[in-house]
C-alpha cells in the first residue's frame, strides 16, 4: 500500500494505492490521524480508487479517522470506492455513516 498526499484548494487528498490489509492498516491509520490532528486544511478526502482490497482492519482504521475528524471538527470523506469496498462497508453497516462521493469533483463541490 502507498499513500500520496495532495492539496487541492481547502482539502487534503490522500491517494491510496494497493491493498489495505492487516499489515498495511497501521500505516493508513497513522497517516489519517496525523493529518486530522495537524489540521492543515479543514477537509480530508481519502481517495480509494486504486485500492483493490480492503479488509476490516482497513475499515476500522477509516472509522478511527472518522471519529478523529468529528473530534477535531474537520470534514472527512471517502471517494472512489470500488464495488468490493462498498460491499465491505455495507457488510459493516457503515455505508451511511461515512460521507461518500463517487469522485473527487463531487467531494470538492
Amino acid at each position: 500500500m502507498k499513500i500520496v498526499e495532495r492539496f487541492v484548494g481547502e482539502a487534503t487528498i490522500l491517494d491510496i494505492t494497493g491493498d489495505i490489509d492487516l499489515s498495511s492498516s497501521p500505516d493508513l491509520r497513522k497517516v489519517l490521524l496525523r493529518e486530522l490532528k495537524e489540521k492543515r486544511t479543514p477537509r480530508v478526502i481519502v481517495n480509494l480508487i486504486a485500492v483493490r482490497y480492503i479488509d476490516s482492519s482497513g475499515v476500522a482504521s477509516l472509522v478511527e479517522g472518522l471519529k478523529a475528524s468529528r473530534d477535531t471538527g474537520m470534514r472527512f470523506a471517502l471517494v472512489g470506492l470500488s464495488k468490493g469496498a462498498r460491499e465491505v462497508l455495507q457488510l459493516s453497516r457503515l455505508i451511511k455513516i461515512f460521507e461518500i462521493h463517487d469522485n473527487e469533483e463531487q467531494a470538492l463541490a
Partner: protein, 276 residues
Amino acid sequence: MPNPIANADSDVMISLHDLRVSYGDREILHGVNMEVKRGETLVILGGSGSGKSTLLRTLVGLEKPSSGEIWLKGKNLASISDDDLDEIRRKMGMSFQSGALFGSMTVGENVGLPLREHTKLEDSTIEIMTRLKLEQVGLGGFEDYFPAQLSGGMKKRAAVARALSMDPEILFFDEPSAGLDPIIAAGIDQLILELKQAFHMTIIVVTHELASAFLIADQMVYIDKGVIIAQGTPAEMKANPLPRVRQFFDRVAEPEVEQEMDYLQMLTATHRRPNR
C-alpha cells in the same frame, strides 16, 4: 474483488484424496474424496455421528489422517512445515460445534485474540474490529460479557465472530446455526452470503438446516457413516435418487433395515468394555 493472496496457478483451495481418519482403532472416515474451489461455499450434510465434525477437524489439521492426502492451497498437509501450516491457519477461521470460546476471557477478548497475537494493529483498531464483527453476528454490545454469561446460541455467534476476526480466506463452520432461533439463524445465512460476496471467501459449512443449506451452498456433499455417498450442486442433490439422501431431504424416519437375527445378535452379544 478477489483476495490478492490468491494462488494464481490454481483455483482449488482444498482437495482430499482417499482420506481415512480413525480414533484409536476405530475408523470414522473411510476414504473421502472431494474438492473445494476458491470462493465456493460447500455444505456438508449427513446424519449425526456420520463423521462431519471429524472431517472438518481433519481439514484444519487437528486430526491426522491414517491414510490419504489433504491438499490445502496447493500444499500437502502431511509434509507441510510448521511455519507454512501457521501461515495457512492465520488465513483460516474455524467456528467449532461447541463454540470453544476461551472461558477466561470476555467475548471481546476472544474475538480480538488472533489480532493481538498475530498483528501489529493498535488496541483501538482491534477494539473497533471486534465490535464490527460482533455487530455482524448480532452480538453488538456484548464484548464485556464472559462466555459463561451467554446463552448457547449467543456463544455460537460469538464463535462465528471470532472465526471472522482475521478476515480469513477459508472459513469452517461446524453447525453454526444449530440451536439458534429461526431469525438469528437466517441472519447467519445472510452473513455467509455477504462474506462470500464481499471477501470472496471459501466457506465450508456443516449443517442440518436444509433450508439454510440450499440457500448458501454452491456445492453439497452428503456423508453417511464416514463415506460421501452423494455430491453435487443443490439442484443435483435435489434430484439425487439414493434412498438415504431422499430420506434426509424428505425428513423420513430411519426404516428398520436390520435383519431380525442381526438385531437379536446385537441385543444379546457378550459385553466387552472398551479399553481406554
